[in-house]
Symmetry: C2
């Protein structure tokens, strides 16, 4: 669907729904299953009926799921048609009012029944979503998931494996170990000596890298403490070094870990937004406190910049600092023959974060944390009587509990494994290349348009630019973006460079075409002209 | 399906699959879609074909999802039939070998196509799962998800909203705020002044409570520091108090936060495994360092014990300690008219953890963190140019970024909202009551069986017991549990009481019947007798 420059009338999310006092769903009455008896407004019938509490698993699960998935799919289609664009038109407060009115009470005394609630709320969600499957939704590292990944997610959700003990996830335990081995090989680690775990995303993966670095630094420090046991309140001051353009989660995580945001020393970048290894060397030499970790970025959120990993690895090693690479975004380049060499040097890191819900086309969450040496995770090991008793492990029952900071943990492995096996490295790489091609096309169009300015040639799949045919570019760029949102016609990103407002396209939709990008840019120019009047 | 006492021949997970060098799935050839051209072993066809990379969203998403969901459902049914019980029979290493052989390469150069990979791996996952939908799978707080929740999960996965910015999740942002208000009301907080966030589970929710408590204590301490900025390496020693039977994540989280596991002071329990408020008072009075937090438990993992919340709240308030309640398990009692009063006093806490993937019948993850006062979350607030610029917030665009420790965050809200609206509070409560009834029935049967010993009357839905018709109960109970696992006939939990091995049923399946429980206990007795020979 091309971007639309003309504002649509505001969408009232769920406006076709009945008011909350009559929570019977609409939808095509010929297609829809008959309403459950207990959705009768009189509310006198018993709740829940047997089918409302039907399980997704067991021998009858698939039969119970089938009609409900049909309801979901119809409501998704209805909602998308009602939305009719990448995002619902309207002001946020108006949209929020619409959602609240349409959903009604989320915990009524008497339920509406499974079919009614599912149809009603799915239509509201779909009509009120920013859908990354629409080519005009291109603001964030918020990918459109592949259908095969979503179908795999459904299977995993039905079986509900939890990876904190083998007897909650026999096959998934093996699959996660397999997948981590494959991904370790992809980043250049030796699969037999590496380890890792799936996470909720780059922020958690970065937290794990920083945690292991913190505790390793303190264990090796003079007058060492055992930080996990003793805490760090009497420990020497630790430092974390990363580029000025590293993800903000580095600072946040430093606060969570008790190091404080001020422990983070930002290292200057070159004109391509990459950490300068000479500046890193200088910062490490001058830094007061123990340099616990260097965090390199492979794919900054805005520029997609990739720090020079091999040179940074040498500097970090010389200063005995743990090297963690935040490749949440750029890790997807490893699938591509064309782009993989951008991450040369990654294999010399101590740990790495990948996010398959970025360049990997997975539903959130699909975070990955990898360590080059499996024993790096030893400090997280934990013996728990109800999860991994010693005699069970001796009897051959493996436990992944000590690989994670969490306890209950979903089998995000499954959708990733299915997708990678379905597409292969060539297929995944082709999707990455397609998005990279779209970004290069966008850059060419921006350069050719006198009303637009390109910040830099794209490295991965983001393009930072702005509308310049105005005397007040900061106000106009910020306002044109909101204008497009309110119109429901495009979801464009924004950021700041040197304190100025810039726009951003994050192109993660491999089904988008060059003319979709052209239409998006035309919509930006049109909205800019309208805002500048 | 009743528990089976007789071991089945070991299941070879995925044994019917082709060897990995010929990755064409089996399955019913009449039902199965035609294999994709590029799953041809010759591997000469292009990859991926258009459909393999089809998106779940956009206007065509539902059409692409439908045939793939059909494949998932068929493979789930096939896999469950092949497993033929709650867990695959066999030794863990043998099962792992079977999974590895059946999956083949998880990142081949050339993919097998979406249909083939999905069918193949879903059958392997299903045949190799511990399925909580089977009444003989009753070891852990690992619930069988409702079909309606899984269908809702599918819809959310297709749209892939991420709650770190409004323009990735317009409707989901509103729904999460709505749902948190409803849950705040359920725990007794004032919805208008409370706040919270959805999390990956109890461990993360407890981490958030402890983080807020840590930083609040240091901000209020004499010679206060701003811990998020300055870190805690020069801070006074903090203490966290919880019952001896609190979840192990309290200690782990103390280590993550830099407090160290030794910061945790375990408080003695009464004979019902509940924290003793007088002992808490004494521990707080004597404790060296600042008592940052008291963590009460509403539903211990083994006994289901619920600490006396109202009395603990008074003690904590007197000592100005943050009171966090880990109600990850017991929170489900709030749905039940019969059991809700067990949590009286919860409203006086500062924060609370709930897990709807326990007594809530959701797929993982469905964790909830709530704070009584919304401003408690202020220290997590963060201004990020690309996510929540100030002028966007002034223009009315809300941001949930500062409610969470994460950045990208999936819309777990959706499945919970659909389920609660479908079943209502009465329906949810009835499911809780059914599981509670099953636990009471199990306790009666155990008491009546001379070969079994009951540890205590069940409080919620767990029953701790052991086989006693042996001179070596520790060895026999541990071994009989593994015997049932190897036979594929039952998944029974285990734990330790006073250093001795005990068994546990965690009854979370509201579709299970009393005779399922009877069969499970009969299987335990039979396996105990066999192990004792």
């Amino acid at each position: 669907m091309p971007a639309r420059c003309n504002p649509r009338p505001p969408t009232r999310v769920g406006a076709e729904e009945q008011p909350p006092t009559h929570p019977v769903p609409t939808g095509d009455p010929e297609d829809a299953p008959p309403p459950a008896a207990h959705s009768d407004p009189a509310g006198s019938a018993p709740v829940p009926a047997a089918d409302d509490a039907a399980l997704a698993g067991g021998s009858t699960g698939p039969d119970h799921l089938r009609p409900l998935l049909d309801v979901s799919l119809r409501a998704l289609a209805d909602g998308a048609a009602h939305r009719n664009g990448p995002i619902p038109a309207g002001d946020p407060s108006e949209l929020a009012d619409g959602v609240r009115a349409a959903t009604g009470d989320l915990l009524p005394d008497t339920g509406t029944g499974a079919t009614a609630a599912l149809e009603q709320l799915t239509r509201i969600l779909a009509s009120g979503s920013a859908d990354p499957g629409d080519p005009s939704c291109a603001a964030h590292l918020h990918c459109p998931p592949l259908a095969v990944a979503v179908a795999a997610e459904t299977a995993a959700a039905a079986l509900n494996p939890s990876l904190d003990s083998w007897d909650q996830a026999p096959a998934a335990t093996t699959m996660e170990t397999q997948l981590l081995g494959v991904l370790a090989g992809l980043v250049g680690y030796h699969p037999a000596s590496a380890s890792g775990v799936l996470t909720s995303g780059g922020t958690e993966s970065n937290l794990m890298g920083m945690l292991l670095a913190r505790d390793a630094a303190l264990r090796n420090a003079p007058g060492a403490v055992e930080p996990a046991r003793d805490g760090i309140t009497a420990a020497p001051r630790l430092r974390v070094l990363c580029s000025q353009e590293a993800h903000f989660s580095v600072q946040r995580n430093a606060a969570f870990l008790g190091l404080g945001e001020s422990a983070v020393i930002p290292v200057p970048v070159d004109q391509h937004h990459r950490m300068d290894p000479a500046a890193l060397e200088q910062a490490l030499t001058r830094c007061r406190g123990i340099p616990a970790a260097v965090i390199a970025t492979a794919g900054t959120t805005d520029a997609g910049a990739i720090d020079p990993l091999a040179r940074i690895a040498k500097v970090a090693r010389r200063h005995r600092a743990w090297l963690h690479v935040d490749a949440a975004y750029g890790g997807g380049a490893l699938f591509s023959q064309r782009l993989a060499s951008l991450l040369d040097g990654l294999a010399a890191s101590d740990s790495v974060a990948l996010d398959l819900h970025k360049l990997g086309w997975q539903p959130v969450a699909s975070g990955v944390f990898l360590t080059r040496q499996a024993q790096s995770l030893d400090p997280l090991a934990r013996r728990v009587a109800y999860l991994n008793p010693a005699d069970d492990e001796e009897a051959g029952y493996p436990s992944l509990l000590g690989n994670s900071m969490r306890t209950t943990r979903r089998a995000d492995v499954f959708k990733i494994a299915v997708t990678m096996r379905a597409l292969g490295r060539d297929g995944m790489g082709r999707l990455t290349d397609t998005c990279h091609d779209l970004a290069r096309h966008a850059a060419r169009r921006i350069t050719a348009d006198p009303a637009l300015q390109l910040a830099a040639d794209p490295v991965l799949t983001t393009v930072v630019f702005r509308y310049t045919d105005t005397r007040d570019p900061d106000r106009v760029n910020a306002a044109l973006r909101r204008r497009l949102l309110r119109a429901g016609s495009a979801v464009v990103g924004r950021t700041e460079l040197d304190g100025a407002v810039w726009l951003k396209l994050t192109l993660l939709n491999p089904q988008a075409r060059q003319n979709d990008v052209d239409a998006l840019l035309a919509a930006v120019v049109a909205a800019g002209a309208e805002e500048d009047q």
